[in-house]
């Protein structure tokens, strides 16, 4: 029964996320509303960690699998993409490396600066 209850709570929060998506005129998906709602629930103690922990762990572990169908869908959009594919690939690769490098280094730099100041 433990897993049924946990899955129910997660689906309830997901559904609340869908309601927010329906009511609020922002370009924010239900999943992000749900994430923020569940975090708020955990922080306020409305939801206990034990009430969602195991099923969350399972869903997060199998998360990479959930991207396979959409990625295989590249087959379908190939017609639209093929004309600019080389440029798109260069831009995507360069920008992804830059974003990862810059955001990581800035975060690390501030963490270490604060640590030095703290000592």
């Amino acid at each position: 029964m433990k897993y049924v209850r946990q899955f129910l709570i997660i689906l309830l929060v997901t559904f609340l996320g869908e309601i927010c998506r329906y009511l609020l005129p922002l370009p924010v998906p239900a999943s992000i509303y749900g994430l923020l709602l569940l975090l708020a629930g955990l922080l306020t103690g409305v939801v206990k960690l034990e009430q969602v922990k195991d099923v969350s762990r399972f869903l997060i572990e199998i998360m990479p699998l959930m991207f396979i169908p959409a990625s295989v869908g590249l087959l379908e959009s190939w017609g639209a993409l093929s004309g600019i594919f080389a440029k798109v690939l260069v831009i995507t690769a360069v920008s992804t490396v830059l974003v990862m490098g810059v955001s990581g280094l800035v975060t690390q730099w501030i963490i270490r600066a604060e640590r030095r100041k703290g000592k």
Binding site: I32, F67, V72, K87, G101
Partner: protein, 230 residues
């Protein structure tokens, strides 16, 4: 055979997971970043569909049940985030600075390269939301007048690429703090990158999850500003 595969209810999910397992096997055997389980599974499933002439729609009829779980799974990212809430509070300034600089780098680099390659305004705004999660990115692309199917494709390519290169980039740039590694991966490669961050560690995973939400929301505001630049 083709008919049977097209009509099977379980073929889509089964072949997706089977090929992911193949990817894990290859990665263990050869220890190369190229044998990323996600990349291997996507290419292998494409190969199976092409060889057996199964339509994508027929495959997706079954495989959609994997995608169906993506929204509740994203909601669950709140759990590791909650478990690391102390770290989040402690490093809030570093995290905010890191994610903001990441969003800015993304938009500026796409603007600069789009201008350099002579892309049209439509192609440029199609690429703008490439580093954020699909559901938000699609909305931005649509609003700015981009080609939504291509935006989705580019977001997926970004994620798979980010998932593949995350460890190498962190080593190359000497990003060693777990918090910084998580922020880097999530800001650059949204949820698909986060799947990799989860493998690297709990702190990395939690920080990467946070970046999906924050970078996505910041991009909503910043992308419409940047759309006017080209």
């Amino acid at each position: 055979m083709k008919e049977m595969l097209c009509e099977s209810v379980f073929f889509g999910v089964m072949v997706s997971i089977l090929m992911y397992e193949l990817g894990i096997f290859l990665k263990k055997k050869f220890r190369l970043a190229l044998f990323n389980p996600l990349l291997v599974s996507v290419i292998a499933v494409m190969g199976v569909l092409l060889v057996f002439q199964v339509d994508y729609d027929a495959y997706y009829e079954g495989a959609q049940y994997l995608s169906y779980l993506l929204t509740p799974a994203t909601v669950c990212l709140a759990v590791p985030l909650y478990e690391q809430i102390g770290l989040l509070k402690k490093h809030s300034r570093a995290i905010a600075g890191g994610i903001l600089s990441g969003v800015l780098t993304s938009l500026v680099s796409i603007l600069a390269m789009s201008a350099a390659f002579g892309l049209s305004h439509e192609e440029y705004v199609t690429l703008l939301p490439k580093s954020i999660t699909t559901a938000i990115g699609m909305g931005i692309s649509e609003e700015l007048g981009g080609m939504v199917t291509i935006t989705v494709a580019v977001i997926v390519i970004t994620g798979v690429l980010g998932n593949m290169i995350a460890e190498t980039v962190c080593r190359l740039f000497r990003i060693e703090e777990p918090v910084a590694r998580g922020i880097a991966i999530g800001s650059a490669a949204h949820a698909i990158g986060t799947a990799k961050a989860m493998e690297l560690g709990e702190v990395e995973g939690a920080m990467s999850s946070l970046s999906i939400a924050v970078a996505g929301l910041v991009t909503v505001a910043a992308a419409s500003l940047f759309a006017g630049f080209l």
